[in-house]
């Protein structure tokens, strides 16, 4: 993304006269709800370099992503929103509403054409020409297309924007789809999945831009590598218990109390790319697995249709190979000091497998 042009730069580039520039400033002053005695300040500001402008749209969503964004501790939301970006349009935080707010949206889109960041929270309802999600008297799908046209970059915030989210789960009554499906790949799209994404991941994407003047490095799906580069399984503090075959078998059993691996209670950590294991929530405080519940894979595309959530993984989603063997092999490679512990784990594991075969009548692969 290029450096943002000032409003005066745009006028110079487009060969617009100073008088017209001042006229635009006057219009802007009035649109911002300011008194005309503020005009000189607005003119001065328009000649300066502005903050990165963010337009945040809402489709079919639950506002959990806004709420997550607000929970960020580093950066604190106040610092980010007031110092690092200009959040010019947000249904959650903007003071304005109705017609003047929509006018402000159009003014912002014009003034920063090709320069603004478009953040989208929510899926796009496409059934029946989009009438299941109307905003400002128009289908959200048409608003999205219009605003996306001149965006420099688009951020898909949360599972709804990245893959349609919960409303896209079977039978998807509103024909909800991801933002990418509507706007195509004509411009850079940053995919920030999760239901919701971790607060610091949401703010981190914008913070990266504010600090370094460019988008964070992305993987081939468009996800920032620094937040989605590893599986939760790879960074999980309970991973050693998986490797040694020590599992919680039921909620609130001895294994649950001891904080053993939740793989057998349905944990999706082995197939889920997210920062829960390393960043965790509330700056390292906890994440679902640490609090005793398996990961439900909320940063995976269409995870809502990979239920039931308490069935262990190999029956769902990509095959990992024989995970139990992976665990046993790892034990075999450990040094003599831990070999004894490992061997005991294998015994425990075999006992449990036998019990499982008895109760289920089949061996789980």
């Amino acid at each position: 993304m290029d450096k943002l042009e000032t409003m005066w730069d745009v006028c110079l580039r487009k060969n617009i006269k100073r008088r017209s520039f001042l006229k635009s400033c006057a219009a802007l002053t009035s649109i911002m709800g300011l008194n005309m005695d503020m005009l000189s300040k607005v003119v001065a500001a328009a000649e300066k370099n502005p903050l990165p402008v963010v337009i945040w749209l809402h489709g079919h969503e639950c506002t959990g992503c806004d709420e997550s964004f607000l929970r960020s501790a580093t950066p604190l939301t106040s610092d980010l929103v007031l110092n690092s970006i200009a959040l010019e349009y947000s249904h959650a935080l903007s003071a304005a509403a109705g017609e003047p707010f929509e006018e402000h949206l159009h003014q912002t889109m014009q003034q920063y054409a090709g320069k603004y960041i478009l953040a989208v929270e929510g899926a796009v309802a496409t059934a029946e020409n989009g009438i299941y999600c109307m905003t400002g008297g128009k289908p959200f799908v048409s608003v999205l297309k219009e605003v996306a046209k001149n965006a420099a970059v688009i951020i898909e915030y949360g599972a709804c924007a990245t893959s349609g989210g919960i409303q896209a789960a079977k039978p998807n009554p509103t024909g909800s789809v991801s933002v990418r499906e509507i706007v195509g790949n004509s411009k850079p799209i940053v995919k920030v999945p999760g239901c919701p994404p971790i607060p610091e991941v949401m703010t981190g994407v914008v913070m990266h831009y504010a600090l370094f003047g460019k988008l964070p490095p992305l993987d081939n799906e468009g996800r920032p590598k620094q937040f989605y580069g590893n599986r939760i399984h790879d960074t999980c503090y309970r991973r050693p218990f998986f490797d040694t075959g020590m599992f919680a078998e039921n909620f609130d059993d001895a294994g649950s109390k001891a904080g053993w691996c939740l793989y057998k209670l349905g944990c999706r950590g082995p197939v889920t790319y997210n920062s829960c294991g390393n960043l965790r929530w509330w700056n390292g405080l906890s994440y679902p697995i640490q609090s005793g519940h398996g990961c439900i894979g909320c940063s995976n595309d269409h995870f809502w249709d990979e239920d039931p959530f308490y069935k262990r993984l190999p029956e769902y989603g990509p095959i990992l190979g024989d995970v139990d063997k992976i665990g046993a092999a790892a034990v075999g490679l450990t040094t003599a000091g831990v070999a004894l512990h490992g061997a005991m784990s294998v015994v425990q594991k075999k006992k449990r497998q036998a019990a499982e075969e008895k109760s289920d009548g089949k061996k789980v692969e």
């Binding site: 502005p50 709420e67 249904h91 903007s94 039978p171 509103t174 609090s291």
Partner: protein, 636 residues
């Protein structure tokens, strides 16, 4: 007469549009319509899922009142399966519910509602020295001192205290000035800052309000820290049917809950209590007092006529909702309906709401006269949610096209919300409704043994009535009253969290660490078919979830949520719902800048995703759900 449209309504959850007809000479709102403009269809998505997963799906109705719908679902599923959760799970869930209500109320007042009351432009005119002095006045005159239940005294001194130094306000003012002068107003752009309502409060209150907007923006996350400890994350923490996933053990260093984790929760609850006592309640009361003194006691609408509640906070685990046990031991017994509170306490009438009312098709039902649905074969009738037939009938607007509205049709269909009714009549729900119900029940002698929660509520109402110098039936059913009771209730919720934290510690001390009852975890232990209801007093009001489980799967799912009660379109007699009534009970100074309308609508804390997820677009019949085995069984 001028017709004014506001769409989108911002600083709410979801998609809402209002249209009002204003008499330009008098400022009177002659007619108003409220329209939910989006529909997501989550009930259909619930069908055929594992009921143990239900909470995770339906929690995604709303991320603002995250947890509310998860708890509603867990209660419904556990009611259906006959599961009694362990004591610790009841305490932990109530801690999470309590702090969620506080956090939700805080976000509402400071971040969704405040910019209707205070303006950054006015804040620039404030004197920082006078603002610091005003902060001290606010603390000395507008605190509501309450005594919580006896509890562990773990805090040496209040860590969160409002700053009252001139330099602090200078710095805040400079930041606001920099933003205004930068020309990039960001979130402050395009509001009607020149509206006369921003002159009601002195500039110093505006500066104080903006300062606390920022402080609370950064503090609110600490209120829900316990969600991250017990549920692993927020928004949308994790639960399990039968209790909680967070095992407790003092013998294991990797245990989800041990002493250190409990200390984190305790610290967060203490912070929460500080924030209520020294920020939220005094701020709201100081602002409310100035409004009331200038004669702003309008915007009550439906609150004066009919309010409804279900009751909440089971003190100890209960065996079910449909069997009546839920209602036997509640801390907050706001179950019932109060009519005509606006006419004074003597004229007010009280009707009880009991478990058996849930299954009576005459008590709760919904109409679609003005909703984008039809009832084939039952035109003009109101149907019980269990009998709910929902067939989409999108008719578009009165003027404009189906995909480009000018004005909606108040004589026809105009919303994706249905119109829920209690005994054929609409009602308002929410903190204000709950306060009116508790106050009426106690004053009329229907509650003779108030719990500590109910006593605290009565003390608060008395204290505020003294400050405002008005009787409760005058100040409560107003726009200011709706906002003030929400703050008062947040204070109660904070102490509720502390209360259950104490119970949790006491119970663990007694040797009980159980957090889940998994005896009915295996679907093989379930009946072939069963049904349940979960009631919950969500931040925005009375919530009910209804589930039918058949062959181990969800066969039908329904929810009647608070914002549907409040934001619904008019009924078949042309009577209005709570939003519409409140708008019609509000004077508008400048029709083109209807700030008062936005303020009164936002005083309800709209949550549209909650209210519009209910309906079946494909016109499929929604199956009958009943919890009463003597009435009928589940069928189409």
């Amino acid at each position: 007469m001028k017709r004014v449209v506001v769409d989108p309504i911002t600083r709410i959850e979801g998609h809402l549009r209002v249209e009002v007809k204003v008499d330009e000479a008098t400022g009177k709102v002659e007619d108003a319509l409220s329209s939910g403009t989006a529909w997501r269809g989550l009930e259909l998505i619930m069908n055929d899922r594992d009921p143990r997963d239900g909470w995770a799906y339906i929690q995604r109705i709303c991320g603002v009142c995250t947890t509310a719908h998860a708890l509603g679902c867990l209660r419904a599923v556990e009611d259906a399966l006959g599961i009694t959760i362990p004591k610790n799970a009841n305490y932990i869930r109530n801690i999470m519910a309590g702090v969620q209500s506080v956090q939700d109320h805080v976000i509402h007042f400071y971040h969704l509602h405040a910019l209707d009351w205070v303006s950054p432009v006015e804040a620039l005119k404030a004197d920082p020295v006078a603002t610091a002095a005003m902060q001290n006045t606010v603390l000395s005159a507008y605190k509501v001192n309450v005594t919580g239940p006896e509890s562990l005294d773990t805090e040496a001194y209040p860590k969160e205290f409002p700053k009252a130094t001139p330099e602090y306000y200078q710095k805040i003012q400079k930041k606001v000035k920099d933003i205004v002068e930068s020309g990039q107003l960001g979130i402050f752009a395009a509001q009607w800052w020149d509206h006369p309502d921003f002159q009601i409060l002195p500039p110093e209150v505006h500066l104080l309000g903006i300062a606390h907007y920022l402080e609370m923006l950064d503090k609110q996350r600490e209120i829900v820290t316990s969600h991250v400890v017990f549920g692993g994350k927020n928004p949308h923490p994790h639960y399990i049917v039968g209790g909680m996933p967070c095992s407790i053990s003092m013998d294991d260093m990797n245990a989800p809950v041990n002493t250190e984790r409990l200390a984190i929760v305790d610290r967060s609850i203490n912070t929460t209590i500080n924030l209520m006592n020294d920020f939220y309640v005094p701020d709201v009361l100081a602002i409310g007092k100035m409004y009331v003194d200038k004669g702003y006691v309008d915007g009550g609408g439906m609150a004066k006529e009919r309010v409804l509640g279900f009751g909440d906070y089971p003190d100890e685990p209960y065996t079910g909702t449909t069997n009546g046990d839920f209602h036997k031991n509640l801390l907050y017994r706001c179950n019932g309906i109060v009519e005509d509170f606006g006419k004074g306490l003597d004229a007010a009438k009280f009707y009880d709401f009991k478990a058996e009312d849930l299954s009576d098709p005459e008590v709760l039902n919904e109409g679609v006269e003005h909703s984008w649905y039809e009832y084939p074969g039952a035109e003009g009738k109101d149907l019980h949610p269990w009998d709910g037939v929902t067939k989409a009938k999108y008719t578009g607007p009165k003027e404009g096209t189906k995909t480009d509205w000018k004005t909606l049709d108040e004589d026809g269909k105009y919303s994706w919300l249905k119109t829920p009714k209690w005994r054929g009549k609409m009602a308002e729900v929410g903190p204000l409704s709950r306060y009116i119900i508790i106050y009426t029940k106690i004053k009329k002698g229907l509650i003779t043994d108030p719990t500590w929660v109910e006593k605290m509520i009565m003390d608060q109402i008395e204290a505020v009535s003294k400050v405002l110098n008005l009787a409760p039936e005058v100040w409560m059913p107003t726009m200011v009253g709706r906002t003030a009771t929400r703050a008062l209730e947040a204070q109660v919720h904070a102490y509720v969290a502390k209360y259950y934290f104490n119970k949790l510690i006491k119970n663990i001390k007694a040797g009980d660490t159980k957090v889940a009852d998994t005896t009915k975890w295996d679907p093989k232990t379930w009946p072939k078919e069963c049904k349940g209801v979960g009631l919950y007093e969500a931040p925005r009001g009375a919530l009910s979830h209804w589930v039918v489980i058949k062959d181990g799967k969800i066969a039908n799912y329904q929810a009647i949520v608070p914002t549907t009660w409040n934001a619904c379109p008019r009924d078949n007699k042309g009577d209005h719902g709570a939003y519409e009534k409140a708008m019609m009970d509000t004077k508008v100074k400048i029709p083109d800048k209807p700030l008062e309308i936005l303020k009164v609508v936002r005083s309800f804390d709209p949550c549209m995703a909650c209210s519009t997820h209910l309906y079946n677009a494909e016109g499929k019949k929604i199956k009958i759900v009943t919890t009463d085995p003597y009435l009928r069984t589940n069928q189409e």
